[in-house]
Assembly symmetry: C2
Homo-oligomer: 319 residues x 2
């Protein structure tokens, strides 16, 4: 992957048309906000541009998706946003895995799968990079573009809560609110409202809470049975991963999500001195220092034991 | 009260020495951050300055209070921060109610009790005003001053979540992080950590959740029995009142806290079109449009029924 400067990435985008923007599977606010924000902006410059995700976009994001005009065209330039690795593409998006022209990402662990790339591991969200690129492209930010980009920033920072937040994060948020981003509405929707089924699901997940390593590890399990009994939708599970790490004294919070094909998908959240991505790398996964993920295939009990062993090891290395 | 410009307020403070800064009872992050931040800054300018609160400062704020050097002096200039009315002073602070020289506040409802005042109802927190005043006074922001002021901003905005947040809020936060404010640590402590007992209490409270009026009313009950079984401390119950209103479709969220003397204390949270303070006024209580409280004495079941009847009435008036 040829590494570009931000200016070069903006220039490349400005030269292209018929642009397809790929999102990772189980898309989160940063993937959705970055992809839709970028596409809306590119459209505002007179280009054809559409986002593509193999999975469904959760209905919580309808304020972003509803106003989007999908266009029919033959893709000529393939962009990925917030995508650390092409293994995170699913469905139709995965068909483009080998054909990505430009990668815009904020994962330090980005595997360099594209022809060209701009990767800034210090950016708290991919959406911050999108904001800067759009400024370079002289995009006139509409409320819709600002809302999409703001969504990426606030969701990937836990509403400006994580240590990844920099002065730049806040200054970009300030600009976006000035451009019309409805920050109060977005933050309320993303962080302060829950469906009944999500609430029921969270309660059931809390019933599975177990401590390990004298309370330094907290573990919860989101089984298919819980999903079914609570009536929770896939989008409802975002945020569950942050539950165990919130508990006082917990250094590693682990969430196991049971998937249908015998996959146990783990989300690992750590406090500052423990590297979550190191833990997940042992199982072929990755992510950030404080938040990472991986999958282990097999029985839940076994997968859990493997993960706990890796977590205990990470803890011991720090003692 | 003579209304000052920000420049005049800064000039007045710069001229004075032996300054006492008053906080309201049950001090929150904005009162504590504003008062300690201001005093630390005044001390850095070579002045004597101490904060005073009638109530104890919660231990969560020890990262602000621990490093503070209390000085002994005869107060010559009395300042209040984040204080809408002198009725909110308690204990020793209340003794200065009639002697306040300068009021710095962001409550539009400020009663104008001081000789001089700067009140900006559009500021999301009082701490934002403190930041601007300190800049005018050419204070060199240390990490400690920045931490205190940042705390005021993030706590009074629900971590940048409320609609009161403006571009200025984010830009001030950005400056403070540049000055050394440990935003990740502070936000984690204020918004992302729960004691085990608090988590247990919240789970038990959720077990009491009942819907009424086709899901437009959600009701939870925090009984003495739950407090005892969970081991939760009084400080742990802050935030419980916001649980029922978070649920999708809920227009009125009601939390009943059982008190020892047969008092049922209600917290009512409403969505935009319903006035919580009107509901609570019926029982001798009051508060804001979206958040109010009152007490009903008697059996829980009866008190609950009375409150629900008032809530249904408020809903019907809106149909």
């Amino acid at each position: 992957m040829e590494i570009l400067t931000l200016e070069q990435a903006a220039k490349l985008l400005a030269e292209k048309n018929n642009i397809l923007v790929l999102m990772h599977k189980s898309p989160d606010g940063d993937a959705i906000g970055s992809a839709y924000g970028l596409c809306k902006a590119l459209q505002s410059l007179g280009k054809n541009a559409v986002p593509l995700c193999g999975d469904e976009i959760p209905r919580d994001y309808s304020y972003i998706t509803e106003s989007f005009s999908f266009q029919e065209f033959e893709p000529e330039f393939i962009v990925s946003v917030d995508l650390a690795s092409t293994s995170l593409l699913s469905g139709k998006a995965a068909e483009y895995a080998e054909k990505i022209d430009l990668c815009i990402d904020h994962h330090g662990s980005n595997t360099g799968y594209a022809s060209f790339g701009f990767v800034d591991g210090k950016s708290a969200s991919c959406a911050e990079i999108i904001k800067d690129i759009l400024e370079l492209m002289k995009v006139k930010f509409t409320r819709e573009i600002a809302n999409a980009v703001f969504t990426g920033i606030c969701t990937d920072t836990g509403c400006f809560k994580y240590s990844s937040v920099t002065p730049r994060t806040h200054r970009i948020a300030a600009d976006l609110i000035e451009y019309g981003a409805e920050s109060g509405m977005i933050c309320r929707l993303m962080f302060d409202s829950k469906s009944r089924s999500r609430l029921a699901m969270e309660k059931m997940v809390l019933d599975t809470l177990k401590y390990d390593a004298d309370g330094a590890i907290a573990f919860v399990c989101l089984t298919l049975d819980i999903m079914q009994r609570s009536g929770a939708l896939p989008g409802d599970t975002e945020g569950v991963a942050s539950i165990p790490r919130q508990i006082e004294g917990v250094k590693i919070g682990v969430t196991l999500k049971e998937k249908e094909n015998g996959e146990c998908r783990f989300s690992v959240r750590t406090s500052d001195d423990i590297d979550a991505s190191e833990i997940c790398k042992k199982f072929g996964g990755g992510g950030h220092h404080a938040a990472a993920g991986c999958s282990i295939y097999g029985e839940i009990a076994e997968a859990k034991e493997k993960m706990l062993a890796a977590c205990r090891e990470a803890l011991e290395e720090k003692i």
